[in-house]
């Protein structure tokens, strides 16, 4: 396991309530792990604890097989962090932002030009990044998080503010890096992205992991299986939905098949969004 979190609890100094309590999860090498949950559930807080921006947690975090508390500079040599906000030097160019950052690392680094090109940013742009659009700034942050070829890559909502073309580009980039051996800790609200990109996802609710598994497993386990039927009644085309996991509804469906003239049948694919709503919504209702 590259990351192993056990009974992690954290409370901000001065706050009365803990953001995280009893959080457990693991991430295997080369895995893209999606960390999902409602606003304010503590996803960014968890990322900050894992990247050592925040200190003073309870429980145990072990990364690269070693307790996080005992790791020094070597840890930051091996990770890359993409923030949820464009925290760049606004008066510097994109190239300069990457170039200066790169000098903090002792290990091998990638040239800024290549990374900028990979994220569809003009390498030779003389403009300070303060003049960039939000989506462009976020792609510079993303490029910066890659300069040291991180073994463990933290991404906090990397596609927020991106147009569909760039969102796909970022998804492909993350997939490629994971296939090349990087481990990815990804926070996102984009359920489609999580579904298509993540090997496993965990839902953070009330400071704990409420549910974890591959997107496919979770969809099968949580979402209701329904079929939607269109049938001809005289001149009219009607449609009805049936829940296959409810005996009464299932019986009605079978009866309909026997007695009516059915035009089309569609299984309703459960989506990760449905899982999200169910996993997080049920908790909200208590």
């Amino acid at each position: 396991m590259i990351v192993s979190v056990r009974e992690l609890a954290y409370r901000y100094p001065g706050a009365t309530e803990s953001v995280l309590r009893d959080l457990d999860f693991e991430i295997a090498e080369g895995e893209v792990f999606g960390f999902l949950g409602p606003n304010g559930s503590g996803k960014s807080t968890t990322q900050k604890l894992l990247t050592r921006i925040l200190r003073g947690h309870q429980g145990r975090i072990s990364v690269f097989g070693q307790d996080l508390e005992t790791q020094g500079v070597a840890y930051h040599e091996r990770i890359g962090v993409c923030f949820e906000i464009p925290n760049l030097y606004e008066k510097l160019t994109a190239r300069e932002n990457l170039d200066f950052y790169r000098r903090f690392y002792a290990g091998p680094c990638d040239p800024p030009e290549a990374l900028l090109a990979e994220l569809d940013l003009p390498e030779a742009d003389r403009r300070p990044v303060g003049h960039y659009s939000k989506g462009m700034k976020m792609r510079v942050v993303l490029a910066r998080s890659l300069v040291n070829r991180p073994k463990l890559w933290f991404l906090d909502e990397p596609t927020s503010g991106q147009d569909p073309e760039h969102a796909v580009r970022i998804r492909d980039l993350v997939r490629a890096r994971a296939d090349a051996g990087s481990t990815v800790f990804l926070t996102t609200h984009d359920m489609h992205l999580a579904d298509t990109l993540c090997d496993r996802v965990g839902f953070l609710v009330d400071g704990r992991i409420a549910s974890v598994g591959s997107p496919r497993e979770l969809k099968l386990a949580h979402a209701r299986r329904t079929v939607r039927v269109e049938l001809r009644r005289g001149e009219n085309l009607e449609s009805q939905s049936f829940e296959l996991d409810e005996p009464a509804s299932k019986a009605a469906f079978l009866e309909l098949l026997r007695s009516e003239r059915v035009e089309t049948i569609h299984t309703q694919e459960p989506s990760l969004e449905d899982v999200f709503l169910e996993v997080t919504g049920r908790r909200l209702l208590g």
Binding site: L54, G56, V73, H76, F83, L88, Y89, L92, R103, F104
Partner: protein, 237 residues
């Protein structure tokens, strides 16, 4: 470690130059002041030179350090530094060195323009750097207390006044015994003596040691305060 400090120092200087920090034009300011002091009557120049040598690396440096910190807080760029191998202490050294370098350069240029080039410049460089570093630490420590630059400016006025009190002793307006316990005293009194031209080598060494000791102790203290602040996560994105 040295490599990271140097990289961070260059970054700080570039960011300040692009942000038009007045301090990055210290060298220019020093030259202008040097020319001014050159043309005014000698008596006035003698009076102004120590004051300038104290305010340029001291007060301007203190403000530049704080201004830089607020700029980094505003853009949250400092968070990115703290997930890189750069340690918080190294960042602090870089920030203070950058402002001390500029302040020292400006002071040396001014001094040379007024008093000419002689052996005193070596001692002057050392004293100026230690004094500027220490003043920057004060600026950093004060900036930890205030959420933004305007409030910092207002809130720091008493500290800045007290910080410059040893100037009174330098002009014989107050007995040295009253101000000598201030951390800034060693630097200010040494600069004044240098300007008068009667600072011996042992005396210079003594002042540099005293100033250096204050700077070292203050650095350890401020670094602890800063590290504790960082751990609380209050100011990082």
């Amino acid at each position: 470690m040295i490599r990271r400090v140097l990289a961070a120092t260059r970054l700080v200087l570039l960011v300040q130059a692009r942000g038009y920090f007045p301090h990055t034009f210290a060298l220019f300011v020093g030259m202008v002041v040097g020319v001014l002091l050159f043309v005014v009557p000698e008596g006035i120049a003698q009076l102004i030179l120590p004051v300038f040598l104290v305010t340029e690396p001291g007060m301007l440096g203190l403000m530049a350090v704080a201004a830089h910190r607020y700029l980094e807080l505003g853009s949250a760029s400092v968070s990115a530094l703290h997930v890189s191998p750069l340690r918080s202490g190294e960042y602090l050294v870089a920030l203070l060195s950058a402002s001390a370098l500029l302040g020292t350069a400006a002071g040396v240029v001014t001094f040379a323009a007024v008093a000419g080039v002689d052996g005193r410049l070596v001692g002057l460089t050392l004293v100026l750097f230690a004094f500027a570093f220490l003043s920057g630490l004060l600026g950093f420590a004060l900036s930890l207390r205030y959420p933004d630059f305007p409030r910092f400016l207002l809130g720091s006025i008493p500290a800045m006044v007290v910080w410059q009190l040893p100037l009174l002793a330098a002009f014989d307006l107050a007995p040295a015994a009253v101000v000598v316990w201030l951390p800034s005293a060693a630097g200010i009194l040494a600069l004044a003596e240098l300007c008068r031209g009667d600072l011996s080598l042992p005396a210079t060494a003594g002042w540099v040691l005293a100033g250096g000791a204050w700077a070292g102790a203050a650095f350890v203290l401020v670094q602890r305060l800063y590290a504790r602040r960082l751990r609380s996560g209050w100011e990082l994105a």
